[in-house]
Amino acid sequence: MAATKMAPRSPIARDRLVTAGGLAAIAAAGAIGLVLFPNDLGFLTRVLATALLVLSLDLVTGYCGVATLGHAALFGGGAYASGMLAAHGGIQDPLVLLAAGLAGGLVTGLVSGLVILRATGLPQLVLSIAVVQLASALANKLSGWTGGSDGLSGISPGPLFGRFAFDLWGQTGYLLGVALLLVVFAALRALVLSPFGLLCRGIREDVIRVGALGARVRPALVAMYGISGAVAGLGGALSAVTTGVVGLDSLSFERSASALVMLVFGGAGSLGGALVGTVVFQVFEHAVSAANPFHWLTLVGLLLIAVVLFLPRGLQALPARLAGLVRRRAAPARGGA
């Protein structure tokens, strides 16, 4: 009775297995998208860029407990950095443009982290909104650089590695996005499992406890904001490179709010949850708005309400929830036998 436990695996081996499984799932989903939906690669690439934004948000919200409704500022920072380098600097190498987005996001992340982390609770949430609205107003005002409300155009990246052109079908862009997501996912898995990641989870759970361990909380959070900015910036740059335009919507409150919605929908504090939330939500939204343009927003709203009521820890908790239901169903049957 007692000796039926499986031999305990080392935590490192178990975590590696999860990472490998996640990478395999991303690759498989990427291949499915390519084969089954060759006409929707543009939409799917947008989903990938958003996935990077939501992963980035998960780092500060899910792992550090900082609630923010202004995270699109980091995405937009990357998108504009990359877009302006291409449009005004004449740079065409897509990898250089991605690097520019990463750097732009990193800087935006550090700056907005320094502002947002001055407060906690509701004032913090409001500061985060103020940051993204400020960035948006600024981008609108500096229209000479950003194109203002018309958007920034004239981004024409050359072929990837000098060989694969960004064609009309969007295959190159899509595959670039999938590759980027694989790399980012692997890197972020390592990050959240590292000593630094453990510290951040500690900060989310109890700031005072972490201080009583002797840790400096603010520098850790600002550093995480920088990393988060780099990831969101990559997403923004991916969007700029693959669509060829950057609009004010890339750093809007609406994008920030929808990123938070997708994160909580999938399950904050889990990288897999962030990805599943992004994909399911965007596909649902895409399908429902195409099928029923009159009621789609109502349906999206009802979906969110249902998640809060029935899956408070997001979609990532769904398998465990279902297993629990099955077990409860099975239990009385076994008892009766």
Binding site: A67, V115, V126, A137, K141, I305, V308
Partner: protein, 287 residues
């Protein structure tokens, strides 16, 4: 001089609209500790009901306001009972954000399909339409009505909270909900009443402010942030703080839009950051 006075009246009127709508949100956020992003949607419901009452049902202006306020409360109370109550005071704000954004989306979608995407006018009665000569200047009568209504709401709330039995119970529940319920105060009834009051004020503000914040389906999303900002800057749960914040931010916003319209909301949010950095707990927030 004329410009300054014009800015001042507009700012005061705008600030009062922000106040009437936001004060309800401030009460619920201070009391039930719930971040209610759907508050703007209740103000919008008030606007739609008033417009419908005036244009299709042939109600008078005063009756239409009563109809709008009562209707919004009737719509909101079941939501309070079956949805909001589950997320009151949760340590984690994320479910609150998700739930109330979901409610907002659903209300926008329903409003859009019932009333269409166009602006809904709320025609003013004859006496509010014309200009009023104040001696040194003429201003639209509607602005004066809004300013007076804001002042009346502030005074009425103050009397309610400071002078009535309900106010005593309300303050007890705000200070310490567990203690209050141990003393036999029915906190669930207090919560429902405070929620109804909050929605009623929101709907009233939605109707009175429709000249300044026009009623259309995306109203709920467009001004969601503005109301939240007013509450936070004033300090959740503070009647005086919300008034100060609404007037201050109204002044900043109107002045900036008169003098530097090309900057959009830049100065508004700059002021928000400055105030939050200087007063992290709100202008008159409790420690």
């Amino acid at each position: 001089m004329g410009l300054a006075l014009g800015i001042a009246t507009d700012a005061l009127a705008y600030g009062m609209v922000l106040y009437i709508i936001s004060i309800g949100l401030s009460v619920t956020m201070g009391l039930m500790r719930v971040i209610n992003l759907a508050h703007g949607a209740f103000a919008m419901i008030g606007g739609y009901l008033a417009s419908w009452g005036l244009q299709s049902l042939g109600l008078g202006y005063g009756t239409a306001i009563l109809f709008a306020v009562a209707g919004a409360v009737l719509i909101a109370l079941p939501l309070e009972r079956f949805l909001y109550r589950r997320v009151y005071g949760t340590h984690d704000p994320l479910p609150q954000v998700l739930l109330t954004i979901g409610i907002t989306f659903a209300i926008i979608g329903i409003a859009n399909s019932l009333f269409g995407p166009t602006l809904k006018p709320i025609p003013l009665p004859e006496i509010f339409r014309g200009p009023v000569d104040l001696g040194f200047r003429t201003v639209p009568a509607h602005r004066l009505v809004v300013i007076a209504a804001g002042a009346a709401v502030a005074l009425g709330l103050w009397l309610l909270v400071e002078r009535t039995d309900f106010g005593i119970r309300l303050r007890a529940a705000v200070d310490d909900a567990r203690m209050a319920s141990a003393l036999g105060i029915r906190t669930d009834v207090i919560y429902a009443a405070a929620f109804a009051l909050s929605v009623a004020l929101g709907a009233l503000g939605g109707v009175l402010g429709a000249e300044i914040l026009p009623i259309e389906p995306y109203y709920a999303l467009r001004y969601m942030v503005t109301f939240l900002v007013v509450v936070s800057v004033g300090g959740a749960g503070s009647i005086g703080g919300a008034l100060g914040a609404a007037l201050l931010l109204g002044l900043v916003d109107v002045t900036a839009k008169y003098l530097a319209p090309e900057y959009g909301e830049f100065f508004f949010y700059l002021a928000v950051i400055a105030v939050v950095a200087a007063f992290p707990r709100g202008l008159l927030g409790r420690a």
